[in-house]
């Protein structure tokens, strides 16, 4: 296998990691208004379930983008300049929700929390939708000239296929977040999250099936049919398991669904990285976009050393915070995140 292909796979892995991890963060944000009333303990339970980990989840995105810059510079350049306005919207959303998580409890006022809750909600809805739109455009291709400069306007990026892609990721991440909340919390939030999971499945299932079917028939490879079917099967299974209240297993099924969906999308993209609809000869491919072997070799060694360590300590951080989050734990702390005697006993 050549290095360029290895890095195409590596970038697919990074995006998969990102969608798996930040997928449920986004879902928790989308569901925030449904987990509890304004300024309720329930909302804080939901936010604290991802509190220690969401920031590290987002680093998967930064690494995916950084790796694309290093391994496929023209892909990075054409994609980000070509998808300018949606990318801008994603950035603003990520800024808003990132700040909101940190600041919402720094001041004890209902209005203050309301503003930041809205930022968390919108900051989660917008990227959940737009990532689907952008990946659909990657698969479908965009108008791009011989110099690999995207000539499509912002509205051209919202074709029916792309809109379906956006709806799919939005609904899927919402479902993923609901399943995560059911697994990681206790009390009323857990009950509501199960209901929310079944509710969002009503959209997520048909949307994902339609999007995967469309992707497979229009752009798929032979083998992606397998992953596409697996994605739909995992989703159905995940919903059934949620219905039965088997939270650990349903979360596992959701992980498989997100993984197989991302793999299907990257499989459909192969061997291009950004196809041109103007003329297939203008497409950016793994071959013509890859960096030279020297850079790819350096990056490969670095990743082989660093990634196991990263996975190790990131997994450990999930292990440290493995307990379900409850309202009782939260009320032990003062409202503005300060110190007050806390009843919890340390094991």
């Amino acid at each position: 296998m050549d290095l360029a292909l290895i890095w195409f796979v590596a970038i697919a892995v990074l995006w998969t990691g990102y969608f798996f991890l930040e997928g449920f963060d986004f879902g928790v944000g989308v569901l925030l208004p449904f987990t509890g009333r304004r300024n309720s303990i329930e909302r804080r339970v939901a936010i604290n379930s991802i509190g220690p980990v969401w920031s590290a989840n987002e680093v998967w995105l930064l690494t995916a983008v950084g790796a694309t810059f290093a391994a496929f510079p023209p892909w990075y350049a054409s994609m980000l300049s070509g998808f300018y306005l949606p990318v801008l919207a994603i950035l603003i959303a990520l800024i808003a929700r990132g700040v909101a998580f940190k600041y919402r409890s720094s001041h004890d006022s209902d209005r203050w929390r309301d503003v930041w809750d809205r930022a968390i909600f919108l900051g989660s809805v917008v990227p959940s939708f737009l990532w689907g739109v952008l990946f659909a455009n990657l698969v479908q291709g965009v108008a791009m000239d011989a110099d690999h400069i995207v000539t499509a306007g912002p509205l051209d990026l919202f074709s029916p296929y792309a809109l379906l892609g956006g709806l799919t990721t939005l609904a899927l991440f919402t479902l993923h977040g609901a399943v995560f909340l059911a697994l990681k919390t206790d009390g009323p939030v857990r009950v509501r999250s199960r209901k929310a999971a079944l509710g969002s499945a009503v959209v997520a299932l048909p949307a994902s099936a339609a999007f995967l079917g469309w992707t497979q028939s229009a752009h798929g490879q032979g083998w992606t049919a397998v992953t596409a079917v697996a994605a739909v099967a995992a989703l159905v299974l995940g919903v059934l398991l949620t219905w039965q209240g088997r939270e650990g297993w349903s979360f596992t099924a959701m992980a498989v669904a997100v993984l197989t969906l991302t793999v299907t999308v990257f499989g459909a993209l192969y061997p291009n990285v950004l196809p041109s609809t103007t003329d297939p000869a203008y497409s950016l491919t793994i071959e013509n976009a890859a960096s030279a072997d020297y850079t790819l070799t350096v990056m490969t060694w670095l990743t082989l050393v660093a990634l196991p360590v990263i996975l190790g300590y990131q997994a450990w951080s999930y292990w440290v915070f493995r307990k379900r989050v409850t309202g009782e734990q939260i009320t032990g702390a003062t409202v503005d995140g300060g110190a007050e005697p806390e009843p919890e006993k340390v094991a």
Binding site: S55, V99, L302
Partner: protein, 481 residues
Amino acid sequence: MEALDLARWQFGVTTIYHFLFVPLTIGLSFIVAILQTFWYRTGRHEYLQATQFFGKLFLINFAMGVVTGIVQEFQFGMNWSEYSRFVGDVFGAPLAMEALLAFFLESTFIGLWIFGWHRLPRGVHLACIWLVAIGTNLSAYFILAANAWMRNPVGYEINEETGRAELNDIWAVLTNDQAWSTYIHTVGAAFITAGLFVVAVCAFKLWRDIKHGDTGETGVAPSTSERALFRGAMKVGLVVVLVAGAFTVLSGDNQAKLAAEFEPMKLAAAEALWDTEEGAPFSTFAVGDTEARHNPIDVTIPNVLSFLATGHFDGEVHGMNDLQEAYEEYYGPGNYIPNVFVVYWSFRLMMGLGMFGVAVAAVGLLLMRGRERLPRHRWFYYAAMAALPAALLANIFGWVLTEMGRQPWTVHGELLTAESVSPGVDLATVATSLAVFTAVYGVLFVVEVGLLWKYVKKGPTHLVPDLKDDKDESALPHFSY
């Protein structure tokens, strides 16, 4: 007005804004780690209070540093697609390394530190904040190595077929002279800034104490126990500033010599030196005529520039007119002289404002020598509070000098700024983006300053109350969102 101009403005606005928070993150993570280590070693309650108090301020600042940093990772592709295409093979590698080796470390362990007070053994918890501190400093190294490469490109060759720069020696990129020197200078300045942050906060609290006395009301003046805490923390801050100041001045001297070697045009512009001279003087105040290319007024100190640039009082320093001529001959027609006014004054403001902060630290330590002593002069407290904005401005002018002084190049000798911009992105798009970033950043600035103000006013005992009896374990904080 072209998209290029706005793209440059956007880079300037977003990067300078980002760099208000970065130095504080780099320095404060260490200072908080040091305070927590004191607590771990001695078990003394005021160290826990100090750790918590400055930890809270650190976190408020950290959040902004992180979110504004995301923009940087995308901006090269969005506004500077031709730059990205040309340099990605070389420039992308340190960026990817930064994400892999530094960002994961910082983000994972900051989560463990914030939420881990009760769940982790104390030693492990202490290790978390140290790992965050190491992560922030690693991150600075990689990004500065990437920046240094733009000013002194090494370890690469141009692929004739694709026209792209290709890496052929990663070690050369990471050990670039400009990278090491810039790292010490920038991180030194970051520690000065963070040290002055601590000093300014302590000075504010102690000044209120002198002004109002102890009224017993929270937020008006520090309680008696807080006074000792602030005195101690102020000393830590002052020492950090003084030590970092030494590193910053020494590496700054080295930077001048490297500029003379690799970026002579930047040095000449920073000194408004039009003609090559042996025994060149250091300019203290000049009024230049950029059209006629000379200075009608120039107040100078003889031979000092030659000494700074070459180590000899009669060394030769190249002037802009001669460099322009040489560049035209080598690179073809064009204007290779940066904006002299901006570069010249940025250099002076950076040095002046930076030196002011270091001087405040030296005077402060002198006034505070001996046990329990506090400066009695009000002017010292005013100066200490003013030193923080001065340091932040010095950082900004330092970057303006570095980046504007490199113009018209993005990659020195290889790629012009005008050739780097995204050709497919029109003026309206960049204008939208610039307007949105400016508005969002403006609002967030008000929020951030408001929150810092609130927590500074409330003081440490609001976060961690004083001990009622000696063995009160429940004083451990519980951060949550």
